[in-house]
């Protein structure tokens, strides 16, 4: 992961200054470090990988070594302004439960994931009959950590079912250019999807 990861730049734009942030699957702490510098944000990252946890400590980012599949029960309700899950949704055991947990401990959630509806994955599966391998999904079917892949429309449907209100969304392609076609056909041309959402107000 590099500081130039485009989803990080978009996420940073969405985060309000001085926010309390929880970053699920925080990697080497790049995003939290960036958010602390650019937005005065504070909070914690959760990460399971030994090397990445050590990297966070080297960077001075608050990190808690834990397995996201074990849930967020150690965090109290409404502890954070934002809970971020970047490129990790597809690798957790219970994405629906985790989304609910995100909106329990945080006011708003931000999720980014590789769009399985991208035309190249459709092409590989639909026409070539092979499990898709792409820049956003570089693994083979037998060694992939990505066990819960979804498309933009799938995610939107889950949000509706869970009573989640999408506040903002965006897609980017592998070159991370905001191209015209992306707006017209996001589920076909978007490689990475980004969503900002909150719990829908009960009428």
């Amino acid at each position: 992961m590099t500081p130039s990861r485009v989803d990080f730049r978009i996420i940073a734009d969405w985060i309000r200054p001085q926010s309390r942030v929880l970053d699920l699957g925080c990697g080497d702490g790049t995003l939290l470090d960036d958010l602390a510098r650019s937005k005065g944000a504070s909070g914690y990252g959760l990460e399971i990988d030994d090397g990445l946890v050590t990297a966070c400590i080297k960077r001075g980012v608050n990190v808690i070594q834990t397995d996201l599949d074990a849930g967020l029960s150690e965090f109290d309700e409404g502890s954070f302004d934002f809970v971020i899950l970047s490129l990790t949704l597809q690798a957790v055991k219970y994405p629906d439960r985790l989304l609910r947990e995100m909106l329990r401990v945080g006011t708003e959630g931000i999720v980014t994931f590789p769009n399985f509806g991208h035309w190249r994955t459709r092409w590989q599966l639909g026409l070539l009959g092979r499990m898709p391998v792409s820049r956003a999904l570089p693994h083979e079917w037998y060694n992939t950590p990505n066990i819960h892949l979804c498309t933009l429309r799938d995610f939107a449907a889950l949000c509706r079912r869970e009573g989640i209100q999408v506040l903002e969304s965006q897609v980017v392609d592998h070159a991370h250019r905001p191209r015209f076609g992306l707006r017209l056909f996001p589920n076909l041309l978007g490689e990475i999807a980004l969503y900002r959402f909150r719990r829908a107000r009960v009428p």
Partner: protein
């Protein structure tokens, strides 16, 4: 000082001499008792910088001491108990840090304890030595800090019972500690943990040579009790896996003798640990230390709410646990982590994969070293 001592490795602090300070201001204890005067024995490594911002306190566990690094004599068989972490270029880098290690009150390695002479009677305290708690230790360490000219520790570090002291420092003296490094610890003991301690204490208390704690006067000591206590302790410091790895069912001499001598290697190990403990450790100290463990419970004063007990804490913290530690399991460290982040404090937590059980905190483990180094590196940088 130690250039010509060829046996001592160059990355050791080398030859060290313990220092001793007398304290005459009475220390009011948690138990209600008072220690009218006392002595603390300690060692220091490295030098205190001009603004006294590089001081680190290392707190010891049940059977530990102030001798954490270096050698007392060139022919010492072993260096201090944290030698691989403390020295020039090591995780506690003595070329940049001023490391202080203090022998706790009630111990038997030089600071005032049950075997010391009670000024009121002219004889060893024995059972008259007051019960000491983690809070009392921190109080006495704070007085030591005053005498050493240290207003604020860059870090207070400890494993096991030492980790409890680091946590207590953060609670009791929020202005005097920048970082707490809490290793293989717990916010309080479980019933199971207290149970192990109680069996150990019973072994000592029921030994006919205990004489109600006044065995010094009888020229004896409760060797059997102390041996059993140590053997039991060692079983709980290791994991099932590491015992299997180290000893398995290996039989001494390759054959069974059908008697009660040592047959299995694990028996030999436990007996050896017991043998080296007796003569080196004091039975009354063992009782006192296990009680200090049992009594530690900062949340006891806040209706069991640890986050509330930590409300005044200001220090940043690093909490470390070891995967195979079942005596102070990672889940117990996570309780500390939760209470810290519930207070929006800076805290990091790493779970280090290690097979050694609770003993891991004393071991040389690359990731453990790397994390301690990295954390202290940042602590130093932010203090500068």
């Amino acid at each position: 000082m130690y250039e010509d001592v060829t046996a001592i490795p160059p990355d050791s602090v080398g030859l060290v001499t313990p220092a001793r300070l007398q304290f005459t201001e009475p220390l009011a204890l948690t138990s209600g008792g008072v220690l009218s005067s006392y002595e603390l024995v300690y060692e220091t490594y490295g030098s205190l910088n001009r603004n006294a911002s590089n001081a680190v306190l290392v707190c010891h566990a049940l059977s530990g001491s102030h001798h954490i690094a270096g050698y007392h004599a060139p022919d010492d068989a072993k260096p201090g108990w944290w030698e691989h972490h403390v020295g020039p270029g090591k995780s506690l880098d003595t070329t940049r840090l001023f490391v202080v290690a203090c022998n706790n009150l009630g111990s038997c390695f030089g600071s005032t304890g049950p075997a010391s002479i009670n000024p009121a009677t002219g004889r060893p305290y024995g059972p008259d030595f007051p019960m000491i708690t983690v809070r009392d230790w921190v109080e006495s360490q704070a007085r030591l800090a005053d005498r050493l000219g240290i207003d604020r520790w860059l870090a207070v570090i400890g494993g096991s019972l030492g980790g409890m002291q680091a946590l207590q420092w953060a609670i009791a003296y929020p202005q005097r500690i920048a970082h707490a490094i809490i290793i293989a610890a717990a916010p309080k003991l479980t019933a199971q943990n207290i149970a192990f301690n109680e069996v150990a204490r019973q072994a000592i208390l029921t030994d006919p040579d205990f004489h109600g704690g006044r065995f010094y006067d009888q020229g004896t000591e409760p060797r059997r009790g102390l041996r059993l206590a140590r053997m039991l302790g060692h079983i709980t410091y290791l994991s099932d896996d590491i015992m299997r790895q180290k000893f398995g069912r290996d039989v001494r001499g390759g054959k069974l003798n059908f008697d009660y001598q040592v047959a299995f290697e694990v028996e030999s190990y436990l007996r050896h640990q017991a043998d080296t403990f007796v003569g080196r450790f004091d039975a009354n100290t063992y009782l006192l230390m296990t009680k200090a463990l049992d009594y530690f419970d900062p949340a006891g004063e806040t209706g069991g709410d640890l986050a509330a007990a930590l409300r005044g804490v200001k220090a940043d913290s690093l909490v470390l646990a070891f995967t195979s530690d079942w005596r102070f399991a990672p889940a117990r460290s996570r309780e500390i982590v939760k209470a810290l982040h519930d207070n929006d404090l800076n805290v990091s937590y790493a779970e280090i994969t290690a097979p050694h059980g609770h003993d891991a905190f004393l071991m040389r483990i690359p990731r453990y070293t790397e994390i301690l180094s990295a954390y202290l590196e940042r602590a130093l940088a932010s203090a500068a």
